[in-house]
Symmetry: C2
Subunit: 520 residues, 2 copies
């Protein structure tokens, strides 16, 4: 059945990852569809097809009755010029909706079901509310470990897969990933040059911040270009063994990006979805070995050792079946790592550690060495237990700094790196005592309000950490901003609660790592 044909109009509205069609209320298609906004429609032109949600418009300035308005996402997906005729009709729901309904009803899904669902999601055929339905129906109590495996496989199959055969001599392609939630935790910018300096292939693609004040890609961008086409990345890795690039250009696991656009505002990040998201991205990026960092703490993503162990086992199960060598490390997530929170301040910490500056944050140095050591032990010629020492030698000798400079030059060094925001506000202790708690979420939100990551120099610069004894009036941290309004917003939030708990030293929690079996 063919619907009517109308010329395309690009409507400059960013509806995030959902394709929206705007039709005027007097458009014949709207009448036939029964005036229902939120209806699903299908747009076809030049052999291309697009599923979208309908919004009805009463203003001919936005779209005329005889035009077919497309949101930015829909326009981009269809890939045709404005004015091109396109055919529009009411869409049948995607075929995999039947499987979604079975999941909602509590059934276990087969591999073929998950393949069909993920293909439809990647093709943009699911509306936001259908995506939300999938995310809720597949939350932690609904997906068993084989379903997580099949979801991961489906997400890999729905996108592109990078092959580093020609770049990786030994056949080893190593990567590291942190499940997130700890501000300032920029160990990738240290781990990559350390392992690359040893000659291991480590082509790290990472994300920009989603809800945090900086992602690895945001911090690296302070130093170098991160938006690099794949061919360029492959050349860089051939020369330097490593890279630190933004993964968004590579179309890896596109269904994951679409699901995240709903999981984020819903605040849902269930173990099954997290495992499928991370492992699909890593396998698609061509990794053969992955070091996974799972921080645990009262304001981290994972809040108990038991939950961390369960998550670790799920990662291990799925990775093993995908043929991915995985080493999952549970780490201390009770407070931020390093001093800076925000791209410029974090890049400063990283460069201090690489330069063996005596003032460098030791917690960041130690964590990076520990993780790099574990990664080095993926190498068949390295004896178990030797990794840490090898990593330290590379860092102390200046070879890691040298390699980082090579990577930065290869990606394109920023001529004038941005500076920390010139506007500053100090946040001080209101009482004397010991720092017995640090709220990661609070500090992240304050850094975000100060302008990070959009303003790279904005953020928070921590002056004290867990266990420190402070006097009333002593500076806890400095907020940096570029704009007065941002500084004011961040300062006000810090005024409502600065994120540090100051109390008697005996209230200081035991080391998170005290339970047996934990690698600190």
């Amino acid at each position: 059945m063919n619907g009517p044909t109308l010329p395309i109009r690009r409507v400059g509205i960013d509806t995030w990852r959902e394709s929206v069609v705007f039709l005027h209320r007097d458009c014949p298609v709207v009448r036939a569809a029964g005036y229902q906004a939120l209806a699903k429609v299908q747009v076809r032109a030049n052999g291309q097809s697009l599923m979208a949600v309908l919004n009805v418009v009463d203003d001919a300035c936005i779209v005329e009755p005889r035009e077919l308005g497309l949101s930015e996402e829909a326009f981009r997906r269809l890939g045709l010029e404005a004015g091109h005729p396109a055919c529009i009709e009411q869409a049948e729901p995607p075929a995999s909706i039947a499987a979604l309904h079975r999941k909602i009803a509590g059934e276990r899904l087969a591999r073929a079901d998950l393949m069909a669902i993920v293909q439809d999601i990647a093709a943009g055929a699911y509306s936001k509310i259908e995506l939300a339905a999938f995310v809720v129906a597949t939350n932690q109590f609904e997906l068993d470990r084989d379903e997580v495996l099949h979801l991961t496989e489906a997400m890999i199959a729905a996108g592109r897969r990078i092959d580093w055969q020609h770049e990786a001599g030994a056949g080893l392609v190593v990567d590291k990933h942190c499940i997130g939630g700890i501000p300032g935790n920029r160990s990738s910018l240290l781990v990559v040059p350390i392992v690359a300096a040893l000659g291991m292939t480590c082509p790290k693609t990472s994300s920009r911040a989603i809800t945090s004040p900086a992602g690895t890609a945001d911090t690296m961008e302070v130093l170098a270009d991160v938006e690099l086409p794949l061919a360029r990345l492959q050349q860089i890795v051939r020369t330097t063994q490593g890279c630190l690039a933004w993964g968004g250009t590579a179309d890896l696991s596109p269904a994951d990006d679409i699901l995240i656009s709903v999981e984020r505002p819903l605040g849902i990040d269930s173990p099954g979805q997290m495992v499928a998201s991370i492992l699909s991205k890593k396998v698609a990026a061509g990794s053969t070995h992955l070091l996974l960092d799972i921080p645990v703490g009262p304001s981290a993503k994972v809040r108990s050792m038991a939950a961390a162990q369960r998550l670790k086992r799920l990662f291990e199960y799925v990775a093993a079946r995908l043929g991915l060598e995985l080493d999952a490390v549970i780490t201390d997530g009770r407070q931020p790592i390093g001093r800076g929170i925000g791209p410029v301040l974090e890049a400063r910490d990283v460069m201090q550690v690489l330069a063996n500056d005596p003032d460098a944050p030791q917690d960041l140095r130690q964590k990076a060495l520990r993780l790099a050591g574990r990664m080095i032990e993926f190498h068949p010629d390295v004896r178990g237990g030797d990794g840490y020492r090898i990593a330290r030698d590379i860092l102390d000798s200046g070879r890691a700094l040298e390699r980082m400079n090579a990577i930065v030059d290869a990606q394109g060094r920023r001529a004038r790196p941005p500076e920390p925001g010139a506007l500053q506000a100090e946040v001080c202790a209101t009482a004397e005592g010991t720092i017995v708690g640090v709220n990661n979420l609070r500090l992240a939100r304050i850094a975000r309000l100060s302008g990070a990551p959009q303003v790279p120099g904005a953020g928070v610069d921590l002056q004290v950490q867990l266990g420190d004894h402070v006097q009333a009036g002593q500076v806890l941290y400095r907020i940096h901003a570029q704009f007065e309004a941002d500084l004011e917003l961040a300062r006000r939030l810090a005024g409502d609660g600065h994120g540090y708990t100051i109390g008697a030293a005996e209230l200081m929690p035991h080391d998170f790592a005290s339970p047996p079996g934990v690698q600190a």
Copy 2:
């Protein structure tokens, strides 16, 4: 914390029931919020407050960088003039989101949790994806019967409640409701005048079609006005004991309307949600006694007798605790009722039955008499088993027609009722045989494509029913339309499959009502 103040601009985009704020990408608020479309924002002005979802705009024709664009729904909710200054800031999630997360995690919710969630939904604080999350998390396997009760109570509490004390002499306010899904099933237009003629108070408010080719309100609108303010309705009921009005003006169970806007495109209509939706609307509308029609059939909403019985028990449990007298009747839903599908054709059927026209569809007459009889037995002075006879006497004597005319006159008779669509197409049997199956969904969709309910005269006029023997080439039904394009769309769908199964007489299914305990 106060966000910046911007002048309001009304953006003529109908986003259905979701409030959307449109901000230009260069607006300072967008920068601070991190450019994230789908973020939740709070708009405040004049002591009014509104939660909305953010869409980012790149076109100053739609909204300027220093303007605050509001979708039609958001503009209506805020209720201020264009140009009025309003303050905008990033919204904290509504307080009840914590309870939603507990439901998603599989916990049972307490009455207070459901009250808080429904209040937030009615206040427009939930985004579409949060609504979808609630709908999925509360599907049939997740809500126990007390949760359904509490959800119903919360939905009643969140809206207005009509009191018919002054109109209902005996204190009895009777109503009937069908759970839907059967095309042409317009028995309300017969039942209301019959029971009103007996002096029982029956103020029926009903909906327009959502996904069907006609709702009761659409069909009544062929004959009379249905959009009546409450005071006017009360006056009509005082005079005629009955009315057949559209319920949308009365603000009854507004949370239900919002939930339906997500349940409909998701195609989710779980028993718990159905019970809460129907009973909250009925109690809010002031009914004391409700006759409920649950049709069962292979293409009805309820497809097995066991499911119908379970649904009936859930309705009975909740109604009893709400103090609502309920009589739930399981009926034959294997095919449409009456001949016409679409407002004008259905109204014709109804008037033929009321006029005792020998050509009137007997199935519609019989069903209406059976339901009216059960309703009449709600009256304390009527002996069990006498209802049907009383209803038949009222209909046969012409008193029901007389009362219908009184109601039509009181609501405002249409001077020139619309006619059946002049364009017609006949759909014929392709083989000889017995009609052994009728697909309700298919016929509804064909009627909808022909233009119903927006074009009142459009629809399908059935010529045969289950069990009839037909010859090849015999007319199964006529499609009526007003526009050639509509007729063509409907005819093409009918060409792909006309919705009738023609086979050997022995394939004819047993009467749906053969299991014990069923009232046919």
